[in-house]
Symmetry: C2
Subunit: 280 residues, 2 copies
């Protein structure tokens, strides 16, 4: 790598802002540029010293990019990769932080990129908090990051993206885009859907009495719908199949209650309790 590497971050939300801050901390000689459509976010990120420079002009931002991170809603990422291919420097490495990978990675493969190389990333570092105001330089320390190369991926780009996340102290897991999407539909999209469904199943009058247990169970439902609608839609097949499974499990639980099956009910709750206690 040359002395002054230029990182370009597209999109200044929680993840874009946190990545900028993390890069400033871990790549101290690098230049960090942000492209965002929201001047207020650029001003905030500059004031916080997350970035050296920000612009609403994507083309200008990309001119000297060595490493581009796309941090926008998942449905906008394929279009941005096309623009990066047209405007970035020859040899630039491109990655993203989208929560679904199949659609994005398959689109990138179909583009047959010539000037730049793309590797899909997904750091499991989101939060119900959104926006650059909540950005933190240490958001990725110790967090899992999925990398989803395909048979068409450039080995040099994969090495560079791995080295990037390692520098941020993230824990890398290489996985196919298909396996990734199935996995996160279980551990992230399904809980989000369940939490939102729970919010819709409780009357407004009761809501205000929800104590810590209720607040925990529904916390992720606060997520930004502008991010989550495209996530759900790009991963709908998996999510539908998991929602069916959840519906069936709830149906079975209902059956145990109807039949007053004390022992089977105890087993149901015990398995859930022991498995959950094993996690943290």
């Amino acid at each position: 790598m040359r002395g002054k590497k230029t990182f370009v971050i597209i999109g200044l939300g929680l993840l874009g802002g946190s990545l900028a801050a993390a890069i400033r901390r871990r790549f101290q000689s690098a230049r960090v540029i942000a492209a965002s459509r929201t001047r207020r976010h650029i001003a905030f990120a500059k004031r916080k010293k997350f970035i050296h420079f920000g612009t609403t002009d994507l083309k200008a931002a990309l001119r000297n990019a060595d490493f581009v991170l796309v941090c926008t809603p998942v449905d906008t990422i394929p279009g941005l990769i096309e623009k990066i291919e047209r405007h970035a420097k020859q040899g630039a490495i491109v990655t993203d932080v989208g929560s679904t990978k199949g659609t994005i990675v398959r689109s990138a493969d179909r583009m047959q990129l010539q000037r730049v190389s793309f590797i899909g990333s997904h750091p499991l570092a989101g939060s119900h908090l959104t926006g650059v105001e909540h950005a933190q330089a240490d958001l990725f320390e110790g967090c899992h990051v999925f990398l989803t190369p395909t048979s068409r991926s450039d080995a040099r780009a994969l090495r560079a993206v791995k080295a990037f996340w390692r520098k941020l102290n993230a824990r890398i897991l290489v996985i196919s885009p298909e396996k990734h999407d199935r996995l996160v539909s279980e551990i992230s999209h399904l809980p989000h859907a369940a939490a939102a469904a729970l919010m819709h199943s409780v009357s407004n009058a009761s809501l205000r009495l929800g104590a810590s247990g209720f607040l925990d169970t529904t916390r992720v439902a606060q997520g930004d719908p502008n991010l989550w609608v495209p996530i759900f839609l790009t991963n709908r097949a998996h999510l539908i199949s998991h929602l069916r499974r959840l519906k069936k499990t709830i149906h079975d639980l209902e059956g145990l209650l109807k039949k007053r099956s004390r022992q089977r009910l105890a087993r149901f709750l015990r398995v859930a309790s022991l498995n959950r206690r094993g996690l943290s």
Copy 2:
């Protein structure tokens, strides 16, 4: 009240232990006695100065009781109220901390208590942590406590139980046992059931990758099945009806995904997000 009031706590779990500790702090001239079947819990509570004295002999513990707090699983409470009626001092006030109130309060009404007076209580102060080891003197500070008197309840006893919880800085809500059970089935039993169902809907291989969102959503599933099975069974009619509603909501969400209804999906997630943001 006389100079040296005797509180008797039956059952030394999270709530019994916390109540003992809270009484020691807020009623400094009172005597705090615990009855428990587990000598280890008595020894722990004595060592921590939660109680003055503990015994496995319920009858002996009750002999000088002015105020009795039943802190055992909900299905054991009616039987204990009968024993308290037989063995406690004339005029003793009795309350409990059970998470369902209908069965308990109706049983107490049917007993036509002569020597003691019972008022049902339910502090919304549980936790996924269980056991006297996690007891805290400030568990009830600022928490909501439901009191569920009926037309047969003794007005003097209601005043005494109110005064008791007020002294612990809890926020009192007087409500009928039936309304209480419907309400908590929504804000407490349904989320618990949903969290347990979620644990059963995710494969073991995926579980270990669950990040903070997954951990939040499933946290309450850690609860002790010995407490939760009787809660679910004594409140089964309400819980069954709420589980049906949740199943229907999940089914509707599945429909939106199948039809790729972007706008209706956005509305579904937006309403959930806004309502949840309104809570904390």
